[in-house]
């Protein structure tokens, strides 16, 4: 049974929708003084907000727009990252990376990671948000605990996870053994089948708090009277969630999905600390962010010829991919939101 949201009976100011004034108030007529000064003032005076925008625009242009354009320019040359820029090679680096098995393997791992996080955030994180949406004395403490991993240093977090998962000095395996789950013990990060799953779990743990907070904000915008109306109409709890609450969460769903997509494909710090520059074991956990870093600076650190311009080409490709897919996601999910409302 599909339960439609009831139409709103009141306007935002609390007056009934039929209480509107018969005619909208006429816009104020500019005085003669205002008309004259508008023609004599300079463009800067006519649009004073430009002064306020200028610092941000300068910063944005200097630290984002210019480097992006410059990066694309550099990707067309041979450059090790040190010394003068080498020969013009056109789109050769882009061709190379599209033929590179390592690039596609890393892209596949990033894609798998996003898929897992997407499912996790729309099941576990959403479930947690639903639980935290209930009023209880401990709610604020639970929220703080769940959000904590988002604000913790990724490097510190990574080191803590490494130590916990280590098969010799870690606590995960002994705890599993002591609670009777010894059959679950394994070399979490060295096992080729489990290394990527471990990375997925750690990433899910890290970003869970963000999704919970966003969904919680969305849940608090769902009017209680809608849910009550649906229940009075005979809807069960699950039906109320599916047909009333979840559709109303569409804006939060859009934000969570797009943000997760960008964060996961750009993920570097925590994964680098966890699996190293080579995506141990044997590239099983190599993701795009770590691949780009390795190509830029060399995976060994003693490489005499790092492929900086090739790494920049990878970065430009990632930028174009993220921009394109994010725009598509925003457009599709935006249309979904409009359809729902």
């Amino acid at each position: 049974m599909a339960v439609r949201p009831a139409e709103r009976q009141t306007t935002d100011n609390g007056r009934g929708s039929g209480d509107r004034a018969p005619f909208p108030p006429a816009p104020p007529t500019p005085s003669r003084f205002e008309r004259e000064s508008a023609t004599t003032r300079s463009p800067w005076q006519r649009v004073p907000y430009v002064w306020f925008l200028l610092p941000a625009l300068v910063g944005y242009g200097t630290f984002f727009v210019y480097p992006t354009i410059r990066a694309f320019y550099l990707s067309l040359f041979d450059w090790t990252g040190v010394g003068p820029i080498g020969d013009f090679v056109g789109l050769q680096h882009f061709g190379e990376l599209l033929r590179s098995d390592r690039f596609w393997a890393a892209a596949l791992h990033s894609g798998q990671l996003f898929l897992f996080i997407f499912i996790f955030q729309n099941t576990v994180s959403l479930g947690l948000a639903l639980m935290l949406n209930r009023r209880s004395r401990m709610t604020h403490i639970y929220r703080a605990i769940i959000f904590l991993p988002v604000i913790m240093s990724a490097v510190a977090t990574g080191i803590i996870w490494i130590l916990m998962l280590d098969p010799i000095i870690g606590i995960v395996n002994p705890v599993l053994r002591d609670v009777g789950l010894g059959w679950l013990q394994r070399e979490w990060q060295a096992d080729q089948d489990w290394a990527m799953r471990t990375v997925m779990l750690v990433q899910a743990w890290q970003w869970n708090g963000m999704a919970v907070v966003l969904y919680l904000a969305g849940l608090q915008n769902v009017p209680e009277d809608l849910k009550h109306a649906a229940m009075i109409d005979g809807a069960r709890r699950w039906q109320v969630f599916r047909d009333v609450v979840f559709p109303m969460l569409a804006p939060a769903f859009t934000v969570v999905t797009v943000l997760s997509f960008i964060l996961i494909f750009r993920a570097f710090d925590l994964i680098y600390v966890l699996t190293g520059p080579l995506g141990a074991p044997d590239g099983a956990t190599l993701v795009i962010g770590v691949l780009i870093y390795g190509d830029a600076f060399g995976t060994s650190g003693y490489s005499s010829q790092p492929h900086m311009s090739y790494a920049i080409a990878e970065g430009v490709t990632l930028f174009a991919f993220l921009a394109g897919v994010s725009a598509l996601l925003v457009s599709l999910l935006g249309r979904r939101e409009e359809a729902i409302h």
């Binding site: 010799i168 000095i169 080579l278 074991p281």
Partner: protein
């Protein structure tokens, strides 16, 4: 007029803004010329210097204090950067024109950068730094085509570190052949001890293990043949070295593929393993983790008795940044020249690592004495030379394949061989 009113009347017009910007620009210009208000021309110079061993920070400060005492007016601001982060930080800083004044180039990199041509990030110090007292290997790293660019801070020798109490408890002596190494590892494993602690998440441990075993096969002459293209890592006796790396896999600790260099060192220092590939510099780290650790050092066992080997390389090669101000360059040159002296090298030998000056034969540190005594067929660390510099990249990318079965020992050796660029002759001195 109240303060609030005064503020409301204070308009930031363009003229006032330009006046402010102009003033700031003038001050900035004065700063560029080195002229500062209220300061004299005799001001002290402060120079920056980066190191890649945080565990050496305190002894380095002591060494630099000796320099500052001998050179009043020069202050050295020393920053220790973790080793794995150092190459990326240095590269980014050089690309941005902002490395430290005393520029610590990576071993082998002066040779490769001079050979590559183009503008160098360091300056020519010929006639300003006396390298005549340095060992041939050390001089070979900083003297290229008749020009001197600096001095290595120190050298290190890589072999196997071992836990003396564990060896004593199981009645073991340091092995001298591959068979003895395997037997010792088996004895330890049977007794429930992890024989070898390896950090294979990074390239460092597997790389040094491989070049140690392969160097034991070749010796210095064989290595020169390898550089000249007369010998190949795919020769059957050298493939055996890669095979041994693989055969020892059951003796590495659980989860070694995902264990990083630092964690592996901590595991070993705490006595949770009996042996580990280690260089001179590693012992400071071991002591930091476990001051009580009773460790010994041995050369790499060879395929047969008497063919044991070690690898010797250089710590950072200190040069002078071309991006530094003339005053800083002058002060930095004094420091680099001092680092090459017998006085500085004795301090290096006593406090941090092996000296590069031929005049220094002793050290107050017993483990450094033991390292020097253990040197066998000593071969230079491979990545120090242009012909074998890229072997680190090859090892990085292929060592994981050995553990997962993606590569056989033969295929691993082929990958390593493919990274070697043979030269016409071995012109650069080896260890």
């Amino acid at each position: 007029m109240t303060r609030a009113k005064r503020l409301s009347h204070a308009r930031l017009d363009r003229r006032r803004l330009l006046r402010g910007v102009g003033g700031a620009a003038a001050l900035a210009a004065l700063d560029q010329t080195g002229f500062t208000i209220g300061a004299s021309a005799q001001d002290a110079v402060t120079i920056t210097m980066w190191g890649n061993h945080p565990e050496w920070r305190d002894p380095m400060l002591e060494i630099l204090a000796a320099f500052e005492e001998a050179n009043p007016g020069i202050t050295v601001e020393f920053t220790a950067i973790p080793g794995p982060d150092y190459p990326a930080k240095l590269q980014t800083a050089v690309a941005g024109g902002a490395p430290s004044d005393v520029l610590g180039a990576l071993e082998g990199s002066i040779l490769t950068q001079v050979a590559a041509g183009g503008e160098l990030p360091f300056i020519d110090l010929t006639g300003k730094v006396d390298v005549s007292g340095l060992t041939d290997t050390a001089r070979g790293q900083v003297e290229v085509e008749g020009k001197v660019y600096g001095t290595p801070l120190a050298s290190y020798t890589v072999g196997l570190a071992y836990q003396k109490p564990i060896f004593a408890e199981h009645g073991l002596e340091p092995p001298t052949t591959w068979q003895e190494l395997k037997d010792a590892a088996q004895t330890l494993q049977d007794a429930g001890v992890t024989p070898i602690v390896l950090g294979a998440k990074d390239w460092v441990h597997p790389y040094f293990m491989y070049i140690g075993l392969a160097s034991a096969v070749m010796g210095p002459e064989g290595f020169d043949q390898l550089r000249a293209g007369e010998r190949k890592l795919t020769d059957p006796d050298l493939v055996e070295a890669a095979q041994l790396l693989l055969d020892l896999q059951p003796f590495y600790q659980s989860g070694f593929q995902a264990t990083d260099y630092v964690t592996a060192k901590a595991i070993f220092a705490n006595g949770q393993g009996a042996m580990q590939v280690a260089g001179t510099a590693d012992f400071s780290g071991y002591r930091e983790v476990n001051p009580e650790a009773d460790l010994g050092f041995m050369a790499w066992p060879g395929p047969e008795a008497g063919k044991y080997s070690t690898n010797t390389g250089m710590e950072l090669l200190y040069t002078v940044s071309r991006f530094a101000t003339p005053e800083a360059q002058e002060a930095a040159t004094k420091l680099v020249a001092w680092l090459a002296t017998e006085e500085a090298q004795q301090l290096v030998s006593d406090k941090i690592a092996l000296p590069v000056h031929t005049g220094i034969t002793g050290s107050s540190d017993p483990i450094r004495q033991e390292t020097v005594a253990a040197r066998g067929l000593d071969v230079i660390v491979w990545y120090d030379l242009p012909e074998t510099n890229k072997t680190t990249d090859a090892a990085s990318e292929s060592q994981g394949g050995l553990w997962t079965g993606r590569l056989t020992a033969q295929q691993f050796a082929e990958e390593m061989q493919a990274s070697i660029v043979p030269s016409a002759g071995a012109a650069t001195p080896t260890a």
